[in-house]
Amino acid sequence: MKKQIRIEDERIREIRHKIVNEAFAIMFFALWVIVMVKGLFLHLPTREYLTEFILVIGISLYIYVRMIVTGIFGSDLQSASRGQKLKRILVIMLGMGVGVGISQAGEGEFNILRMAIVVITGGALTYLMLYIVKKINDRQIEELERKDKEEQ
């Protein structure tokens, strides 16, 4: 029996990825639970769970930015209506509001102005990132079309 050139078993690779993804999801969820419990229920000051908080925000931002840049998040919005885009941005702003609210609950006081600044900044940044990614994609498409025309 002649042996073929070996290829990687993609089913095994998929299962491995799935296991790592699930482990990450468990860890991420656990970090969120720690932040919620320490901030909301125990009313501990932010410095008591600062590490977990930074990890949660940092990981969320990383996922968010990478998904936008690779076109996973936001690609469906390029042809979406204004209402759908607004809904997506509002969801993100709500998430940021919840995050800030939890950290402020730990401090024992709610500063509405600080929350509003963070939420509005978050919304504006989201819109700006989606706009930039759309412009980059449009320019890449124009470049490809121009090259196609030149070749013809």
Binding site: M1, K2, Q4, I5, R6, I7, D9, E10, R11, I12
Partner: protein, 67 residues
């Protein structure tokens, strides 16, 4: 359990190969070959081509839709 990819199984049996032997030739596990034959796993184009080469058939003959 019904075999969804009958043509692949028939081609394998015609060559007198077990699932393990075909798996060894292609470079995957026996379970992967079994799951492809059952229709429980969608192989990539590379894997489809490797299977076709091992069985001496074309992609159409094994993986195209049956009418």
């Amino acid at each position: 359990m019904t075999v969804k990819n009958k043509r692949m199984k028939i081609a394998r049996v015609e060559k007198d190969l077990s699932q393990q032997q075909l798996a060894d030739m292609v470079g995957v596990t026996r379970q992967t070959i079994g799951m492809i034959e059952m229709g429980n796993f969608n192989p990539s184009l590379n894997l489809c081509r490797a299977i076709c080469k091992a069985l001496g058939k074309t992609l159409d003959e094994i993986f195209w839709e049956e009418d």
